[in-house]
Amino acid sequence: MNAARLEVRSLAASRGPVTLFRDVSFALVPGEVAAVRGPNGSGKTTLLRCAAGLTRPDAGEVAREGDVLFAGHLPGIKDDLTALENLAFALRMRGLVPGEAGILSALERAGLAARRHVPARRLSAGQRRRIGLARLALDPAALWILDEPLAALDADGEAMLGALLESHAGRGGIALVATHHPLPVARVAVRDIALRP
């Protein structure tokens, strides 16, 4: 993995006439996990989209080094494709060559091996979230930007996300996570980035 870096300098963003945040600055170095916290409507999602490069901020700049994996609050999963196909296309989109064996073992880890040929529309909300977890396990991107990854996950899924975040940080990756809950990581210190309305 190349050296990852995510630096945000005096970022400001608004939605329509409402200023969401102003003068937000932070720099994340390899191995760092940061939790973006703030009440509903404080701009967590917008900050994450700016960091990923999807939304242009009103002011300030974002410097990124390393590939980005963005998991927004829309799942990015096609209902008509199976978990296996969803993952294969998600990896191809990221310029990776999906190996069936790798995808199968990731699905196994996410507890979806038995449901791998079921169209995603027949999976529960938590199981669809687990497709996202399998994607985290498969993608070598250095920058993870995750919006509410704990939503709809059970205790087992939370533990898996925690393990994924820990091994990601262990490899020198960076994770920027918007969440209302404590992140289930024990071995990595989580840095808090607070947004105030």
């Binding site: 999807l54 963005f70 829309l74 494709l81």
Partner: protein, 221 residues
């Protein structure tokens, strides 16, 4: 051009998984083109005269039917933002999606058109010119329509807006497309019309994916 490849393969897989959309497009085309003779009467000369124009308008509207979901479905479920974050250039995967749209709308319409032409008693020259014009013209419809579909993303009443944006842009394609078969039927040769359609196709194929990419970027911002 790996971006073209995965987008094309993905959209084709999705379309084949639910062939209902393509079937609806084709059924609409056949039904509407078959209603006209019932409405205007069975005078063979009249039918042969209006045939190319009617078939073109029906093909144009049928191709338009499926444009609404070209980007809107991916926009709604978040896959469009995932595509935007792909390291592949945006115009590449936009082109792939447009090509897949043509494969399941314009191409089958083109293949069906000679059958409908027979219903209208078109001569064999006119049938050939009609099919050739559709083969060149329907990709232009998919291309121009896709840019409009990208522009109407996220707008309320996107479907109506899409019609207002796209249908006027389709006018030149319709004029030269229907003109090709008319000219062939009158023994003038369809060459000039087909050349113009080919020129439109080349220009649209080069320019539209970039316009679509810009529009999608704005919609996701």
């Amino acid at each position: 051009m790996s971006g073209f490849g995965w987008a094309f393969a993905r959209d084709l897989t999705l379309a084949l998984r639910h062939p209902g959309g393509t079937m609806l497009t084709l059924a609409f085309f056949v039904l509407v083109a078959s209603l006209f003779p019932l409405g205007v009467g069975a005078d063979p000369q009249l039918l042969a005269r209006i045939g190319p124009g009617v078939i073109w308008v029906c093909a144009l509207l049928a191709a338009f039917l499926s444009l609404g979901s070209l980007f809107a479905d991916d926009f709604a479920d978040g896959t469009l933002e995932q595509m935007m974050l792909s390291p592949d250039p945006v115009f590449a995967w936009v082109s792939g999606k447009i090509a897949a749209h043509w494969m399941v709308s314009g191409l089958p319409l083109t293949l069906l058109s000679p059958l409908l032409g027979l219903q209208y008693g078109l001569s064999s020259e006119a049938l050939g010119a009609l099919a050739a014009a559709l083969l060149l013209g329907t990709p232009v419809l998919s291309l121009l329509g896709s840019a409009c579909a990208a522009l109407s993303l996220g707008a309320r009443g996107g479907g109506t807006l899409l019609a207002l944006l796209a249908l006027p842009l389709f006018v030149p394609v319709l004029i030269f497309g229907a003109g090709a078969a008319d000219a062939a039927a009158n023994g003038l040769g369809a060459g000039p019309h087909l050349s113009l359609l080919g020129a439109m196709l080349l220009a649209a194929a080069v320019a539209v994916p970039f316009a679509g990419a810009a529009a999608i970027r704005i919609a996701l911002d």
